[in-house]
Every structure is written in structure tokens, then in C-alpha cells.
């Protein structure tokens, strides 16, 4: 059983076809999130919205290594995970519009997106709130002898919660088939990580529990995919849980509308120029203008269709609020 930190510096090349499909998926998430920002500003959407511009490669790279009956738990910043795990843009957009056709039938909203059919156990508005349940899901797979795994997504800020430490300890103690994916975007809301953690190397969190850890550049989809392949294989083979740290960047505010007063001047522009996973993959693949435009057009059509679908959806009746409180 391997222990310690694996650093993946020189990933084996994936096929062009695979990488192109990653690009499509990442671009869909990007344009979907931009549309969410636009619709919120236009006053169509209510509530509290957190988008994942810049973090697309983590969601896609990890979820593409999962089987459809593997499960995930997500966070307040959930749209990218949901889409990558197979939720349709229509079901997601309809939920943001509060419609019965939404993935959570309008009961959940952006921070509470569920889709059991695609193995999505729910986004979670409580930081760290999803982790203990992932240990339990993985435990049930272990007890029933099923070859499934459970994956928790969370941010760097979540590693300061009690739930994180208790969950990783228990997961390792019982050697359950779980993967804990930390999207280290270097901020917890307005607080930069050096202000909320006394360490810079997150792999040391895993070391404390004797848990296998993989650290990867989260802006490099190929690297994420290969790291996640290793992590999920390790867990699935019964070798115990894995802590996967993807170093990434949030190329927008914490929430839609965040004035980001806490960001050093120029940081966002620089990050957008140097740390955007999408142009990076496009360049790697050498996608020409013509193919790019075609791809953009496809993605745009899908996103626009989701807005149309959502807008023409059914509003719940007010008294539907009384349903679903108990099973």
C-alpha cells in the first residue's frame, strides 16, 4: 500500500480525442457559469450564487475518472461538479430559476443541488458539511462489497473545519473507498490561505492521518485526470482513501456580485492571463479559429437552450413548500 505524496510532473499524454472532449466540457461549464452571472445581474435569479470560473479542470478531470454509480458530494460552489458528474444543463438552470423541472424541484437552489440518478449526493452550503457523509457512503460500499467509491469536493478553507479532520481520520482508520478532493483556490471567501492556515503544503494535512496524497496542478486538465485516475484506482482497489489536492484559481469573485476588495490590485487580471485552464488546453491542442468558433457555437446553443428551458418551466405552487419535509 503506497503512502506519502505523489507529485505528477510529467503526465503521459492522453489521446487528442479525449482532450477535445475535456475542452468541450470545460467550455460548457465556463459559458454556463458566465450565463449564470449574467442572468443574476439581470435580476432573473435570486439567492446566493457562487460560480467556478477557473476551476473547471478540477471538476472535469476528476469526474471523468468516475463510474456513473460512484457518488460525489459538493459545496456552495457546485455547478461545475454537478455538470461534470452528469447533471443536464437544463436541470441545473431550471433549479437556479426555482422551477419544478430543476434538479432539486425548486426546493434547493444553487447551494443545494441534488441528482441521485447521476450519483450526486448534493451540493452543501455548510463548509465541510459534505465530508462526513462521504465517509458514510464509502463505508456502505465497503460493507456491501460494492466496487464503488465516494468523492468529496471542498475548498482550502474547508480544511480548517472540524468535519474535515474528523472525516479524514475516520476514513483512513476504516480504510474506506473515498477520495477527498481539495480545490485549493487559495482563498476562503475574502481570506487568503496564508491568513487561515499555518502551512502552505496541504499534503501535510493528509500526512497527519497517514493518508495517501496526490498533489496536482489543477489548471492542467491532463494532469488532473491522471492524478484522479491514480487516486480513484487506489480507493477502488481497497487500498484506502486518498487526499487529492488540486491547486487552482478562482477567476472571479467569491459570490456573484463580490466587489473583491480583498484582492491585491492586478491579481485577477494576471491570473486570468496566466492561469486559465481553457486557453491552456486550447493551445496544447492547437485548436484553430474555425474549430473554436464551431465549438463556441455548440456550447452557446446548449446554454441558451437551458435558459429557455428554465424560463418556460413550471413554478411550484406556494403550498408545495409543505411537501417533502418527511419521507
Amino acid at each position: 500500500m503506497s503512502r506519502g505524496v505523489t507529485k505528477l510532473e510529467q503526465p503521459t499524454r492522453l489521446s487528442r480525442e479525449t482532450l477535445v472532449s475535456f475542452l468541450e466540457e470545460m467550455l460548457l461549464i465556463r459559458r454556463f457559469e458566465e450565463k449564470v452571472e449574467e442572468r443574476f445581474r439581470a435580476g432573473d435569479l435570486s439567492g446566493f450564487l457562487h460560480v467556478a470560473l477557473g476551476q473547471e479542470a478540477v471538476a472535469v478531470g476528476v469526474c471523468r475518472t468516475l463510474e456513473s454509480d460512484d457518488v460525489i458530494a459538493s459545496t456552495h460552489r457546485a455547478h461545475h461538479h454537478c455538470l461534470a458528474k452528469g447533471m443536464t444543463p437544463n436541470a441545473l438552470m431550471a433549479e437556479l430559476y426555482g422551477k419544478l423541472e430543476g434538479c432539486s424541484r425548486g426546493y434547493g437552489g444553487s447551494m443545494h443541488l441534488y441528482d441521485l440518478a447521476t450519483g450526486n449526493l448534493g451540493a452543501n452550503a455548510v463548509v465541510g458539511g459534505g465530508l462526513p457523509g462521504i465517509v458514510g457512503a464509502a463505508l456502505s460500499f465497503q460493507l456491501r462489497g460494492e466496487p464503488r467509491i465516494a468523492v468529496a469536493f471542498f475548498g482550502d478553507g474547508a480544511t480548517n473545519t472540524g468535519a474535515f479532520h474528523e472525516s479524514l481520520n475516520l476514513a483512513q482508520l476504516w480504510s474506506v473507498p473515498a477520495v477527498f478532493v481539495c480545490e485549493n483556490n487559495h482563498y476562503a471567501e475574502s481570506t487568503p490561505s496564508h491568513q487561515h492556515m499555518p502551512i502552505t503544503d496541504l499534503s501535510r494535512r493528509a500526512e497527519a492521518f497517514g493518508m495517501h496524497c496526490v498533489v496536482v496542478d489543477g489548471q492542467d486538465i491532463e494532469a488532473v485526470y491522471l492524478a484522479a485516475t491514480e487516486a480513484t484506482a487506489h480507493a477502488r482497489a481497497g487500498n484506502g482513501p486518498v487526499f487529492l489536492v488540486a491547486n487552482t484559481y478562482r477567476l472571479t469573485g467569491h459570490y456573484v456580485g463580490d466587489p473583491q476588495v480583498y484582492r491585491p490590485k492586478g491579481e485577477l487580471r494576471e491570473l486570468r492571463e496566466t492561469q486559465d485552464p481553457i486557453p491552456r488546453l486550447r493551445e496544447l491542442l492547437g485548436v484553430d479559429e474555425e474549430s473554436w468558433s464551431a465549438l463556441e457555437a455548440d456550447v452557446k446553443a446548449t446554454v441558451e437552450a437551458s435558459v429557455e428551458f428554465a424560463k418556460s418551466g413550471t413554478d411550484p405552487r406556494p403550498e408545495d413548500a409543505l411537501l417533502n419535509v418527511y419521507a
Binding site: F48, M111, A125, A158, A188, Q195, D315, P318
Partner: protein, 326 residues
Amino acid sequence: MPETTYREAVRDCLAAAMRQDPDVFLMGEDIAEMGGSMGVTHGLLEEFGKERVRNTPISEAAIAGAGVGAAIQGMRPVVEIMYQDFITLSMEQIVLQAAKHRYMSGGQVSVPLTVRTQGGAGWSPGAQHAEQLEAWLCHVPGLKVVYPSTPEDASGLLWSSIYDDNTVVFFEHRTLYPIKANVPEALSPIELGKARVHREGSDVTIVAIGRLVHVALQVAEQATEEGISVEVLDPRTLLPLDEDAIINSVMKTNRCVVTHEAVTRMGFGAEIAALVQEKAFDYLDAPIERVGSKFTPIPFAPVMEQYVIPHEEDVMAAVKRTVARI
């Protein structure tokens, strides 16, 4: 007296306490550069520095618990729990530690901690960011619970909370931050445990807290047009409770409606109803009405959310039901 928002009233009180007393300091998530998720602590980092305006990790148990520990050493920490929903994560430190050290030590220990938190529905954040949990805290001997509904009350009550030698959980309502009122420039403390009669009346007493105080005042205004005279009373401090003020009011009006945004069942209103029937049973001309949220988590879709939480119409209907009884 300058016009001050509820948000500014809280901030100005924190600043005043910090200026005069080095033992007062703040801890909470994103309270420094960002000034708190609701902008309440805006500007305090610049004035008091990061030693006293402390950004914390997302660690609600440790935030509350470190506050308990510092308070026992004689400091007067004010900690912020960003949303009251997340006070569930601090509950052990508040309920089992802060509330009980005095008692368990046979009176040796004091815990002069203030826990500020905020929340409330009406903006569709979904079920984990919109609850009203004040009743949970009111069930705990050893704690004090304060819930101001106006800027001047926020200011005067926060001061008294900071300088109380017990742990005070101080609730703010998200939708009240922008409301304005005249607040005295020199801080004037308001004693904990004293209710405020916002409006006198003779037909029915509405006991309201938080956002519902403002709803009750609107209802009272409308009710005059129908010839109903409504008294509006805000306990402001929920624990200890100004029982005399409530009882005296009901003895005068003979009717009582209690309203809050928290779910009705087992809510703060249940305690008021019990108190009134115990102490003023013979004065009552109608059953006590309770108006709160329906017994569900707060749904996301705005149409459902609005259905679940109480509005003016609901309070008015309750007022009319009580006065319809002779």
C-alpha cells in the same frame, strides 16, 4: 442625533467599546479586509489593526471556544458567526462550555463573551442560510439572548451585552441592516431584560421580535383604520425576559398575538403564550395567537419561501381573530 443604520449602529458600538477598552477584541470569518459578510465590521481593521480585528479560519467551534477561553481570562471578546445557521457548529462551546462554567465552578468563573450572529429568510438563499434559531439558545440556563430590532436598540443593547459578565448571544436580522433611525452620538446603554413598547394600544398586544417588530408596527397602523387599537411590544432581550412588561400589557389589552420569523412550533412565542396564560389567564378575552414560519425548512424557490415565512397579512389575520372574540 444623527441618522444611523442598524448596520452602522452595531459597528459604531463595537468601535466605541474597542476605543475605550483594550480588552474588547473581535474574531470571525472575513471580518477584517472584507468587513464581514454583511459589512458590519467595515473600517474596524483600519482603526484597530489585525491584532484586535481577527480574521479566523472556518472553524466555528474554535471561534466560539477561543472566545470562551479569552473571556474567562477577563477579556471581553466579541465573536461573529457569519450566519446563525452555523451557530449549530459552535453549539457545544456555547451550550456546554460558555453557559455552564459559572455554575459548574460554583460561581468562580465568568464568561463575558458576546456572540454576534445574523440571519433570516426572504432572499432565497435556501435552507442552510435562512433559519432563525433564537429559541434554541433561549432554552439554555446560563446564557443571555438579545435580539434588537432597531438601530438604537442594537447600539444600546450590544454595549450592555459586551459589558455583561455572562455569555450573550446577540441576534441581528439580515433584512434590518439598512433601516435607519436616530441614534444618540454618545453611546447610551440599554439594560438587558427590559422590553420596549413601540406603540401603545388598548385592544390587543402584539409581542414581536426581530423583523416582525416592523411588520407588527405596520399592522398596528392599518388596524387603526378598522378601529382596532394595537399595542406593539418588543422584548428585545429574550433571556432574561421582561415578564412584567408583557403581563402588564396583556392585562390592559386582554388579547395577545405573538410573532416571529422562526417556525411557530416550539418557538419563542410558545414561551410567551405559556407565560401569559399562567400569569394573566383571567384577563384574557381570546386565545393567544402565534404567527411564525410554517413547519418546514426554508425552501429556495421564492414563491415557496414567501409562503413559509410570516407576513403582514398573517399578523393582521391573527389580530382580527383575537378581537373578533368577545
